[in-house]
């Protein structure tokens, strides 16, 4: 029921969306989120490099997913997160939740994203012609956790 993957390889977001609730008669609602490498305002982003902490990443994602299934009635919970160099427009990660009712699916997906942002050991570095810079964590991402 938990499907958690940390990988360098691309994945097919559409296919992953389609199969979240396949063959589950109790599911009435699926919510998915997909994060994409967004270009900067001047359109000069060449690459986003994602570093992670192998081992801890999988554990952290599993804990976040378990927390979500403990709080909401979920039939399925999927997290796929890539690492390594990514080009603008490439898909970075996705989450998907499936539930009998929409409120649970929405809340759980929103929760997964908030925790993934600041509790899973990933770091992003943006590369342009002017050099590379680590993406700073936002205060708003930390305060988002107080919602839960």
């Amino acid at each position: 029921m938990l499907d958690i993957r940390v990988q360098a390889a691309p994945f097919d977001y559409g296919t992953e969306c389609s199969n979240v609730a396949k063959g589950m008669p109790d599911i009435g609602a699926v919510v998915t989120f997909c994060g994409i490498v967004r270009n900067n305002d001047s359109g000069t982003l060449q690459q986003m490099e994602i570093e992670h902490y192998p081992g801890m990443t999988e554990r952290a994602l599993e804990k976040i997913a378990m927390d979500a299934t403990g709080r909401w009635d979920l039939g399925a919970c999927k997290i796929i997160h890539r690492f390594g160099p990514l080009a603008p427009g490439e898909i970075i990660m996705m989450v998907a939740t499936a539930s009998a009712h929409r409120a649970d699916a929405f809340a759980a997906a929103d929760f997964l994203m908030d925790y993934l942002k600041s509790r899973a050991p990933f770091w992003k570095k943006e590369r342009t012609a002017h050099g590379a810079e680590w993406v700073a964590a936002k205060d708003s991402d930390e305060t988002a956790l107080t919602r839960w």
């Binding site: 902490y53 801890m56 600041s118 899973a120 050991p121 770091w123 964590a137």
Partner: protein, 83 residues
């Protein structure tokens, strides 16, 4: 006691290596940080603002006031930016 120390993201770049094994008498994260910061300038620079850092003991997020206990693997890194 021998412990593996791991560094990630800009902390890794400042320290200049991703991991090392050290022999330390430190009993808390804070003591370990003081010991590391005292080693060389690049460590001092890397750990100059511990409030900007996070720590994990054996792959579990932890606090700078935590005892090191039996932790084999101690990782330092900036705030995470997943998703």
């Amino acid at each position: 006691m021998k412990r593996d120390i791991l560094y990630f993201a800009w902390l890794r770049e400042r320290v200049g290596l991703p991991r090392e094994t050290i022999d330390t008498q430190a009993t808390t994260v804070a003591e370990l940080v003081s010991e590391l910061a005292a080693r060389e300038d690049r460590y001092a620079l890397a750990f100059s603002d511990p409030g900007a850092l996070r720590v994990a003991l054996d792959q579990e997020l932890s606090d700078f006031t935590s005892p090191l206990g039996d932790a084999r693997e101690i990782a330092f890194f900036p705030p995470m930016t997943g998703g």
